[in-house]
Symmetry: C2
Subunit: 270 residues, 2 copies
Amino acid sequence: MSSTSEVRPIATRKYTKIADDLRRQIIDGRLAPGSRFPTLAEIQETFEVAEGTAHQATRVLLNEGLIETKPGAQTRVRERPEVIRLVRSWYLEPPSGSPWHADMAAQGRVGSMEAHSEAENALPAIAERLAIATGDPVERTTYTYMADDKPTFLATSWEPLGLTGGAKSKSQGPEGGPVGGYGIVRRLRDMGVSVTHAVEEIVPRTLTGPEAQKLGLRAGIAIVVIERTYFTEDDLPVETADMIITPPYRPRFEIPVRAEEEDELDDMGA
Amino acid sequence: MSSTSEVRPIATRKYTKIADDLRRQIIDGRLAPGSRFPTLAEIQETFEVAEGTAHQATRVLLNEGLIETKPGAQTRVRERPEVIRLVRSWYLEPPSGSPWHADMAAQGRVGSMEAHSEAENALPAIAERLAIATGDPVERTTYTYMADDKPTFLATSWEPLGLTGGAKSKSQGPEGGPVGGYGIVRRLRDMGVSVTHAVEEIVPRTLTGPEAQKLGLRAGIAIVVIERTYFTEDDLPVETADMIITPPYRPRFEIPVRAEEEDELDDMGA
DNA sequence: TCGAATTTGTGCGTATGTATC
DNA sequence: GGATACATACGCACAAATTCG
């Protein structure tokens, strides 16, 4: 309120300047992908700083995903990462199979899933997403997806208990789950409820310690969480889920470009 | 490849345990949004650690977006952020106006843009996205989007110079740009090239120092970059762009659910 | 209104742990 | 086993912003 100046982290901090300098070298290619990155001792010497400061600078680049560090080993400039794309088409998955299993099969890997459900009272954030009141009963299900028995994805879904009445646990099979496809769409359709659209919101954050432990990754790396909510035709939310997508996986949306002529715009709400 | 054990950050580090403990308090609501977060001195005392360790723990939660720190002021648990949604429908923007300006108008803000183009030789990553050879000439354009004269979005686009031959600079107006809508779609259509689909890949990373400076945000916070590429009907890339989306903005994809019956699947290429 | 106390952030130097080579 | 290198932790000093008497 008081002043115009917000957080103004002037870029004159030593570790910031060091990080900027080294980042530029990486981007310009003077430090090639896969090549050896200066050691802390070298940074200490060339920039005339303490070890802690050098370490702080490398931590910045580590969090940006530009370098790879391993205790004991030399730090290296990260190779252009092998990305594995999770295609999220504009229409939901064709009935033939879930993209998860298809992707896994295409890579010659074996996909499996573990799930665990329990009832709880909706926290504010979840209540808002499901358009219910805080504290209303919901069924929370946590999923762990494995590729070749290695935990690869984490997901959590919430369903209002008032609506589905615990139908989930019954028909829940390994095909299901938030990543695996559209189990809930089919399930609700069998109950006479028509799911017509989904909304996926992309929220960035860093990986927490517990998550990193489960996935065998480092805490603090940047990831995306896809918050997906399914709606009926009268815009009633029937399920919402958090899907944690970590490198090397990467969501990919394929979007048709509508020709300007076609003006029969079938609005789908909002 | 030598061993099965990858990076195994055993969660017994002090700062990790402190962060886990405090995170749980926030998630469980024992530390309510907006409430005062323990000071470094208090953390130091309750967990019996040095100041630096306490600071490192808060840094973790800061990067996760759970708390807000300001030098001099008390740290607070972050309010559930007021998100501003950037709707990315499954069809691209109707001609009536770009979503950027629509969003800004809806919030009573004034949107404007600055752009700057120059020719360069394609780096490997860009070359791959444009399906050209490394070093081929491209036109790079950097955009800064303002909301109420405050820099809000950054974007960079690349076009193969061989294709559009610098047509961009001529018809480039304030309506255009990667965020603003589909200037290039119309532009190429006028040249007889039909853009039929786009691909958007979601890449998480943290905000770099220079970017943070421009946007008046803190370096190190998690953001998403939308890498968007436009294709012609024969899958020829005609433009690719990096759109840097920072909090409180959040991409939102609205996706229709196809009924299982409709099996006339019009594949749009893989 | 001004100055002092508080609080976060940066930086130094050192010691130690632990994984890699 | 020893040398190297990254990671954690401590303790201290100071800077900068905020808060409050």
